[in-house]
């Protein structure tokens, strides 16, 4: 079963614009991770944010975590065509020894 739900399911923006994806989950977590998947490829880890952190940056990526709302957001600034991919959040749930992935957001950057 999927723990996280990404929103929106699909997003198309112009190159250079910022892209924001949201993830909601159901149970308490130890940490939350974001992964990217290019078409026909495996997943690539982007960033991990722990439950006691509220915001984290990595290059053009900014992740926020609100444990009271059980939600996270991924912001990609100054988007590039190469950012076209599906983005998944994955939760490390308290008391459950597995990483549970959401349903993903398909991002398309229009050149």
């Amino acid at each position: 079963s999927q723990q996280g739900e990404e929103d929106p399911q699909a997003l198309s923006i112009q190159e250079g614009e910022n892209a924001t994806m949201n993830c909601s989950y159901k149970t308490s977590i130890n940490n939350l991770q974001w992964y990217r998947q290019n078409s026909g490829r495996g997943l690539v880890h982007l960033i991990l944010i722990r439950s006691n952190e509220r915001e984290k940056h990595s290059g053009r990526l900014r992740v926020t975590l609100d444990t009271s709302k059980k939600s996270s957001s991924l912001l990609i600034t100054a988007s590039r065509a190469a950012d076209t991919a599906s983005y998944f959040c994955a939760t490390d749930n308290s008391g459950n020894e597995k990483l549970t992935f959401g349903t993903g957001t398909r991002l398309t950057i229009i050149p």
Partner: protein
């Protein structure tokens, strides 16, 4: 450093036939995972190995699926017999730590299985 290697990349079989997928994790990674990814969905865990021991196979359909990780390095996932609903991408991943969510997981490119 070589990443996670999977083979084959694509496999087309007829229903009721057997099929096997192979995975070689990143050197030094003790933890190995097999995931199933249906079209438009996120990966779902099938089985997790710590070295050669299967520590979580609760989501593996044991009537037709089996897996092994002899010597605690590479692993094989088998389906026998395959059904139409098994068409999906089978992903292998590995990580350094024993806690699945504590650190990042490294994924292979996957094997896309089509059952006709």
């Amino acid at each position: 450093e070589a990443g996670v290697v999977q083979s084959p990349r694509y496999k087309i079989i007829e229903k009721k036939q057997p099929v096997a997928f192979w995975c070689n994790p990143i050197s030094g990674h003790n933890t190995l995972y097999w995931y199933l990814q249906n079209l438009g969905q996120g990966p779902e865990l099938l089985i997790r190995y710590e070295n050669e021991e299967a520590v979580d196979d609760s989501q593996l359909p044991k009537d037709r699926f089996s897996a092994e990780r002899l010597k605690g390095v590479d692993s094989t996932l088998k389906i026998q017999p395959a059904e139409l609903g098994d068409s999906a991408v089978y992903l292998c991943a590995s990580s350094q730590t024993e806690r699945p969510g504590a650190n990042e997981q490294f994924f292979g490119p996957g094997t896309r299985l089509t059952v006709l």
